[in-house]
Point group: C2
Chain length 574, copies 2
């Protein structure tokens, strides 16, 4: 680096300069932007794309993942993935030699740091574009690790995750570009004779990465929840070690392979992105999190380990971003579109059997019932109508499995089996039991439709715990006012990723906005169409707020990227 | 708040709109900007300003600080300040009733939150403008709590601190304004007949504060180090509890009084800024830091409590910004302006007897000596010349005290008395002992000029500890290459707020920039005039980097403000 820094150039920067302009602009406006088509239609991705993606997926099965053999490894292979749809994947991954891997990452920093934000962003765009081209392959990998239904695996694991990735690139790029590379500082002054004699200095501001970043993936959204951290760290100059959930390695192995290939082709060290795979129960996340070399940690998963990470990581001076768990909340007050309301709610509850960090759990309904365009419904009648909507949506097994997917683990299955027990314990009532569905293609998959338990607002002991999976609580409150107070209070204390309200009253909607602000949660109002409370759009909706215990960060705000790099000034008189 | 948010207005916003434009622009460019004249000249602040400020200061002495009686208090008064220049101040402050004070702060949030970023920024500007008008009063308070000499108390405690305050306002304002208040989101789509039928949503983004902020002040720079946290939190919507160092309460009491007055006049709750004073040894910082209501902590002070805060605060989900201690470093390689180099270094060492977090401590000089415009100097000769420059600068007692000020505490005095012991222990040599100076006005002040100990680079055990006060180490290295390697290694491990290099070689300067980037410290190059390594200019120089253990934050980068607020979205179809 010379005193007057020159802007680095790179062929990928020339290729993607227009994209960088687009995403800078999209981030600023926060209106609609998507780079990657969400439809798996052959008209979009090509006639042969689906078949080729499936074939590529199947070629991985039962094989060692040789494309990652360039990583430092001790020669052992790890992997124990079993599809929630039944089959063992049989893929094994070269175990990362941690000492050598972290040293390789450290060694890769200077050239990546000195490439500058724009070149890094362009390389990241190229990586994500190449990931996009393998969306069908990744969709199959997401399906057979998370249990998501195929179309959702494609969308949430593919284009939607890719849009979140590129949003993180945009956020990191813009954040770095806010720091000028060099300025002339001129302080007015006079010499001893009173003539103007300003003090002049040139100040160069150099972006330096924080260090090695660790991204700890989750089982249910292996790519969607990992990409923001990966690309936020990478674009700001940090090498990334990706530690997938032991039951959802393949989607991230493919992603890491692509990143390494692009980095190498672009003239950078592939050690900037490495996969640290493990089999079940090896505790690799903790081992890595405790390494001195790790300076940034992004985590999605359970609150127990997440809480430990927040404490231990912060104690060691690391930057820790977590998304843990919460109790997502719906307040039903009134509606002028009952059919749309019920359909939308039923879909939100059914999608991926409620195994989304954004799926609703607690539905507050006043004991006096709900005014609708189909007349007044009592609390019980509303419950029956919602149960009916769920029943219709999930009544046909073959169609239902394409919405519900498969249950991902035993905890979810236990929760689905526990509705009667919960209702009994809570003095409540099972409004709809969780129906068992046999998957027409994957007989070993455990597929469950959502169930509903009605209980009283006093039973906070039951409904303020996350009951992950196909379980919804219909909570009887004294009034919508109490519903909103409970929304604010329970979310402030226990956290939530999402909240929604249904009301025809502007006063109630205003009060709901106040309650959401007090609880620190984003609010969706009167969703009756094709947008669901579970879903957030990259570049426009923040995912999480950082303002309640469910997550200490949001995709993607400035706080998510601003601390991932530091600015080192050098100044001199000129 | 209605669905379509209207921009709040306020008379102060009309009054200060131009200032907000100026400071937004200044923050973006990072070139020279100052709102508050640094010269205490009567031509700038008025013929009577100095006398009136002194009188106002003296009116506080021996009195209860009645202007803060509006705060919730249990009726007791606390305070035990003794001027480093000798006299007890005798000021007492109403003890804050913590339960009631925190409840009052919480209660003040909604109206302040809903006032919006621009109104908050304008109110903050008004507060700082009013603080500026009391600069002479505050200068006396800073002098008699920190021990700074008067002109420095005026500049660093007054206009320079005020410029840092307004920089924090700018950073917080701009950060909030990056989030649009509302957007129309329109996702392309088609209806069943294939006609365009976009999904349209209005999304409102509401800025909410993180919670109550605690600012823990330090003894040496009560205002300069507290204002950034105070105003960064306030402008982003958070109420602030200011907990001054027990020996430096008065400057912050005046500042808090002004803030409360302006807030009240502007129609806001004065509980948005409260003073939590304590006498020595009450441990109030820890008590406050552990309160659940406190969500943000800004701290300047020793590394032991700072480290505890980082851990305990983070464990409790609080946002913690610290500035602790470090070993500021100079590398001397060569110079074409020996006189300027020595004068600049001597001044940096002497200013406030080295009691600045930015004052140099470790001066690396190669054993082969230094090429200068006055010929080659051996290691020993360079040391003698630097000692001579310090001697000349501080040789006249009456002039010296206006540069040195008074020692602030017994630890500094012990350090100043320990040069022979340190040299003996380290197998080194006292090049210049710390001279005792009798203050012509304040006979009880302990005034010390800087001393220098020469020792070998191998004695890291000695020079990698902070020796706060008038002690410099001349460290004999094998080469400038080794000097730079030590700079990077020791700062990465032990931290530093500042670093500087003197060299006529572009290669060495390049290498120094690399070493500074590796160590994570800002670098000043060849300072030989009226800019000193100790000094950073608001809006242009970052103070600290957050990239080494001395501080986890920088005044004022985006990371310092971005996490102080959160964004709550509400969205609905339109």
């Amino acid at each position: 680096m010379t005193a007057t820094a020159t802007t680095p150039t790179h062929p990928l920067l020339a290729a993607h300069a227009g994209v960088l302009d687009e995403i800078r602009q999209a981030l600023t406006t926060r209106s609609y932007y998507s780079r990657y088509p969400e439809s798996p239609s052959p008209r979009v991705y090509g006639e042969s794309a689906a078949a080729e993606g499936l074939a590529a997926h199947e070629a991985h099965l039962g094989q060692p993942y040789a494309a990652l053999l360039g990583q430092p490894t001790d020669g052992t292979f790890v992997g124990s993935e079993v599809s929630p749809y039944g089959p063992e994947l049989g893929v094994t991954y070269p175990a990362l030699d941690l000492d050598a891997g972290l040293e390789a990452a450290r060694h890769a920093i200077p050239a990546w740091r000195d490439a500058g934000p724009q070149v890094r962003a362009a390389v990241c765009v190229e990586i994500i574009d190449r990931i996009n081209r393998r969306s069908f392959e990744i969709a199959n990998a997401v399906m057979h690790t998370s249990g998501q239904p195929f179309v959702m695996s494609f969308q949430a694991g593919g284009p939607h995750a890719q849009d979140r990735a590129i949003e993180a690139v945009a956020a990191g790029l813009v954040e770095q570009e806010r720091v000028p590379s060099s300025v002339l500082w001129e302080k007015p002054g006079k010499d001893r004779e009173g003539k103007p004699a300003p003090l002049r200095m040139q100040k160069d501001y150099r972006i330096v990465p924080r260090g090695i970043a660790l991204v700890i993936g989750c089982n249910t959204f292996p790519t969607w929840n990992a990409y923001p951290g990966i690309f936020a760290s990478l674009v700001t100059g940090n090498p990334v070690v990706v530690k997938p959930h032991p039951r959802a390695v393949l989607p991230l192995a493919i992603s890491v392979e692509i990143a390494r290939t692009v980095l190498e082709e672009a003239g950078f060290d592939p050690a900037l992105v490495q996969l640290a795979a493990e089999g079940d129960g090896q505790g690799l996340a903790k081992t890595l999190a405790e390494r001195d070399e790790v300076a940034i940690i992004d985590y999605t998963g359970g609150p127990s380990f997440g809480g430990w990470l927040e404490q231990a990581g912060a104690a060691a001076g690391k930057l820790v971003f977590t998304e843990k768990a919460g109790i997502n909340t719906i307040v039903v007050d009134s509606t002028d579109d009952l059919r749309g309301t019920l359909g939308n709610l039923a879909f939100s509850l059914a999608l991926y059997s409620g195994q989304m960090c954004t799926a609703p759990q607690n539905i507050y309904v006043p004991e006096g019932g709900v005014d609708t365009d189909e007349g007044h419904l009592s609390f019980d009648e509303f419950g029956e109508r919602l149960a009916g909507a769920i029943g219709r949506l999930t009544g046909d097994d073959a169609k239902a499995v394409e919405l519900l997917g498969a249950t991902v683990n035993d905890q979810v299955r236990t929760n689905a089996d526990s509705l009667a027990a919960i209702a009994g314990e809570a003095g409540g009532r099972v409004v709809l039991d969780s129906r068992r569905i046999t998957h027409p293609t994957w007989a070993d998959a455990v597929v469950r439709a959502p169930g509903l338990v009605a209980l009283d607002v006093t039973r906070e002991d039951v409904y303020t715990q996350e009951c992950f999976g196909p379980v919804g609580f219909l909570i009887r409150t004294a009034s919508t006012e109490q519903s909103l107070a409970q929304l604010a209070d329970t979310i402030r204390e226990h956290g939530a990723m999402t909240a929604a309200v249904y009301s025809t009253s502007e006063d109630v909607l205003d009060a709901a906005r106040q309650a959401a602000a007090a609880g620190g949660v984003a609010l969706s109002e009167n969703l009756t169409g094709q947008v669901f409370v579970n879903q957030t759009a990259a570049f426009s909706d923040y995912h999480g707020t950082g303002a309640n215990p469910a997550a200490n960060a949001a995709y993607t705000d400035a706080a998510f990227v601003a601390g991932r790099f530091r600015v080192i000034t050098s100044r001199r008189h000129v």
